[in-house]
Symmetry: C2
Subunit: 134 residues, 2 copies
Amino acid sequence: MLDSLKAGGKKLTKPRRAILKIFQESALPITAAEVHERLKRAHRTVDLVTVYRNLAMLKELGMIESVGFHEGQMRYEVRHGRQHHHHIQCRGCGRIADLMLCPLKKLTEVVERRTRFVVDSHALEFFGWCPECR
Amino acid sequence: MLDSLKAGGKKLTKPRRAILKIFQESALPITAAEVHERLKRAHRTVDLVTVYRNLAMLKELGMIESVGFHEGQMRYEVRHGRQHHHHIQCRGCGRIADLMLCPLKKLTEVVERRTRFVVDSHALEFFGWCPECR
DNA sequence: GATTAAATGCAACTCACTTGCAATTAGCTT
DNA sequence: AAGCTAATTGCAAGTGAGTTGCATTTAATC
């Protein structure tokens, strides 16, 4: 997993190591502010700007992925060892759950045929009410 | 269509009328800034804050819908008379095309069964390269 | 240990969007 | 047609996520 860093000519600094640890410990997508806060709680305080720069870089290297729920901020999750999936977010409490499914293999072909675009990715999120908020 | 306004106790002001006209003339989802700019070009200049407030209100009344491509801004499109659909955006030029399809009826049931959430909506966007940018 | 490119932290900035408030206006009511 | 009132508008100022410039620090290599 750290090979990707070396391959990209990136250093394994202390802040970066701490950020990666946060992601390894977090199953669900988290925001930059949440990463920042968790670092502080773990007495590994890192400047927020460093968090942002690392998120951009880790995404660039394909080590993390971004997910957006149109909350006015992005969320990120590790990619390592996890299969492609989607999410559902509760409109009440904001809680997010993984959906280990993706129904879009075939649809992608339909889209490519119809639009003459070459599809390179997609975003799919569900919204609703969780058992507690319902 | 304007009945929704009256039903909501809303007035049909000049700025509002102009904003609705912009949407009726625009097939694809546009940003607040684009609405604002088009109003200016049509010599119907309206303050940007008025645009934002109207977008919020029209969305509230279900007259327009928001779509996001994680560009750091939201887009909006009229709902009136149009069927539920999704979009694809070009990573090169940002161009958006409509996809008049939605494969998620059945999947929604699967999601509800698996997560015990009550699904109330979903967001699905494709990204890729259009014929010109490819 | 010396070298150096990458990375960090701080301060200042940008940009989408929101809020407070006084002035205006649409849509009644009489 | 004039008056009333709540809704709406524009302006100014604020918020919050994310970015940029730059001097200082640090990981990795020589």
